[in-house]
């Protein structure tokens, strides 16, 4: 009888199901995984080292590029860490705007996740559905910040500017008839808040559509039920957070347990799983989208009736308003110093963790009193999750690796940093 060896299989780094640039070395016994060794770092840009060489505000844009599907949440943790060290309080309207955009970001993230996860295990339509709604939300991003993905909208002390009173509209072109343009512009006549409110009224119906496609789908259940089971004890040992931890039945959500901004005034539920498998995590993320939708609606209602400042008027930290800068010498100096040297943050250290769509996203910042961070450490939830891939796929089939990568909601921007 010939001697049989385990096969070593290389997976990625260029593979559509690797969700970016993941290289996996798989030791296989037939089609069963004996050991999985993820090789990461192919997207390593040394964001933390770059931040050490730049004034604080110039690194906000780098935060978008970490987890590039939940941009504003990354920014949020970063600006909150700076605010904590400076000891400044953010205007209430800015806090509501931040919460609203955090939840919009959560929906954006989960939509991409469900689309990609669906594709990985063989469901095509869900991807098209999810991207249809992402389009609306990216238009919201664009209306408020000018960029569809990398918004750089949050600032230490608030947000860059108030919500616009109008939405950009589609124009008639050679390829888009007037009739189409009118149809597309149907919900864009009012302000940004009108557009978001219209979205929140439509969105629960969309989630129902996704659920019709997947929740009772025989193939979907065969591919996810009982795959990548993690017990609550192991989940804590492995440093899981967010939906990965809640999927294992641990009720833990920073928005509720350690509320930041105005989350303590919001009414929402936290879904928790029971079996700790991929299907439970799927159900949790679906429910989280509905809950995010509820939070967005509450923020819209509050923002409608409460106008006010959205950025702190403290010119040592935030730039003066442009019309003031043009006519006032002191403001001109403040403006100049703000955009050249930046501001110094008092000596010390701070850790801020927020409930990111993927788990706990943390910023640990050390300052020696300079205008640049001395050390910035980004705690990416996906990093801890991917490190557990080996344990989660052991004994599963090759095709299940793809399902586990999908359920972990892996994005390489944040893992490699």
């Amino acid at each position: 009888m010939p001697e049989l060896h385990n096969m070593t299989l290389n997976f990625g780094p260029q593979h559509p199901a690797a969700h970016g640039v993941l290289r996996l070395i798989l030791e296989m016994n037939g089609e069963v995984i004996e050991r999985a060794d993820p090789h990461i770092g192919l997207l390593h840009r040394a964001t933390e080292k770059l931040a050490e060489s730049k004034p604080y505000n110039q690194s906000i844009g780098y935060m978008d590029r970490l987890d590039y599907v939940s941009m504003m949440c990354n920014e949020h943790a970063y600006v909150m860490a700076i605010e904590k060290m400076l000891g400044i309080e953010v205007p209430e309207r800015a806090q509501y705007i931040r919460v609203m955009f955090d939840e919009i970001t959560r929906i954006l993230n989960h939509l991409l996740w469900i689309g990609a996860h669906g594709l990985d295990v063989g469901a095509m339509t869900i991807f098209l559905y999810a991207f249809r709604e992402r389009e609306d939300l990216m238009d919201v991003y664009e209306a408020v910040s000018g960029a569809r993905l990398h918004a750089t909208y949050y600032r230490p002390g608030g947000v860059a500017r108030d919500l616009p009173d109008s939405m950009p509209k589609y124009e008639t072109t050679k390829w888009r008839s007037e009739k189409d343009a009118t149809r597309l512009n149907g919900n864009r006549d009012g302000s940004l808040l009108d557009f978001i409110e219209d979205f929140t009224s439509r969105f629960p119906g969309y989630v129902d559509e996704y659920e019709t496609l997947l929740t009772d789908n025989r193939i979907w259940k065969q591919r996810t039920v009982g795959i990548g089971v993690v017990s609550p004890e192991r989940a804590m040992q492995l440093g899981f957070t967010g939906p990965m931890l809640r999927g294992s039945g641990v009720e833990w959500d920073l928005r509720r347990k350690q509320p930041y901004e105005v989350y303590d005034k919001m009414d929402f539920d936290i879904p928790v799983g029971t079996n700790g498998d991929s299907y439970d995590r799927y159900l949790i993320r679906m429910e989280e989208m509905r809950q995010s939708n509820r939070i967005i609606k509450q923020c819209v209602d509050w923002l409608r009736v409460n106008p006010g400042p959205v950025l702190l008027e403290n010119n040592k930290v935030t730039p003066p308003r442009r019309e003031v800068m043009k006519g006032n010498m002191e403001s001109l100096i403040h403006h100049f110093k703000h955009f050249t040297e930046g501001y110094c943050v008092p000596e010390g250290e701070a850790y801020v963790g927020i409930e990111h769509p993927k788990g706990e996203f943390g910023i640990y910042m050390v300052s020696d009193g300079a205008n640049k961070p001395y050390r910035l450490k980004i705690r990416a939830p996906g990093f801890a999750h991917l490190s557990a891939l080996d344990e989660m796929v052991r004994g599963h089939m090759l095709a299940d690796v793809v399902a586990v990568i999908g359920t972990q909601d892996i994005v390489f921007g944040e893992i490699d940093r």
């Binding site: 040394a46 440093g239 110094c344 008092p346 963790g353 943390g362 640990y364 705690r379």
Partner: protein, 235 residues
């Protein structure tokens, strides 16, 4: 979230027999432990009911070599005026400062307790700055595996007892520890495709490191007041 002063008091009481330093700043508790006690302390922090830190959120290295050093001196001006602040803090001047008695590297752990809803930062300074070694806490929290690999890769801190201490983020065959303060931002080598050789080659970097915005520390009395007030309330 649980009160940080209460936690600090409990920590001081429990660890009264070993030298630990427990401080509270910005409502965050920091516990400084000597490197040979890290493993015992971590195990107690996980298992004791008062602490119950089930999750290790983060582990990272910090290099304190240029702490407090600036590229632009603003307190004194000479007869030639202020410096222009265009030269980066030199690695050579660094090495002179490095052989002071204070350890250069620190390992920082961030812990989270779900049961008690509290956070804790543990910091430890490996003694030898040329060859920093510290015990791995892999047996206490399995999830620390990659975090320790990262600290090893970026700072060259050795974790004794780690099951698989390899580089993680840097390239295959990479030399050096890129997040050390004496490692230039531009790196040492760049890569390009060589037409003649018909393959990708590495060569020394052709760009000069430069400072766009100088690092400057302004002694701002607004924060002095706030800090001293906070410290007195912590005491």
């Amino acid at each position: 979230m649980a009160d940080s002063q209460t936690l600090a008091a409990k920590l001081r009481e429990y660890f009264s027999d070993i030298p630990v330093d427990c401080t509270v700043n910005l409502k965050e508790v920091t516990l400084e432990v000597s490197p040979d006690k890290v493993l015992d302390v971590c195990r107690a922090l996980r298992d004791e009911d008062d602490f119950a830190f089930e999750i290790l959120i983060d582990l990272c290295g910090v290099d304190y070599a240029t702490y407090g050093m600036t590229e632009w001196e603003t307190d004194i001006s000479t007869d030639t005026g202020f410096s222009r602040g265009v030269n980066a803090v030199e690695a050579k001047t660094l090495t002179n400062k490095m052989d002071t008695e204070k350890p250069r590297y620190a390992v920082v752990y961030h812990l989270l307790s779900l049961a008690n809803n509290q956070r804790l930062r543990v910091r430890s300074y490996p003694e030898n700055s040329d060859f920093p070694v510290i015990d791995s806490v892999h047996d206490v929290w399995n999830g620390v595996n990659w975090f320790e690999r990262e600290a090893f890769d970026l700072y060259g801190i050795i974790f004794d007892g780690h099951p698989d201490l390899r580089r993680i983020l840097s390239d295959y065959g990479f030399i050096g520890h890129p997040f050390r303060k004496d490692y230039p931002l531009t790196g040492h080598v760049e890569m390009r495709y060589d037409e003649e050789k018909g393959r990708v080659i590495y060569q020394p970097v052709s760009i000069e490191p430069r400072v766009l915005v100088p690092r400057v520390i302004r002694h701002d009395n607004r924060y002095d007041d706030g800090q001293s007030g906070e410290e007195s309330s912590n005491a």
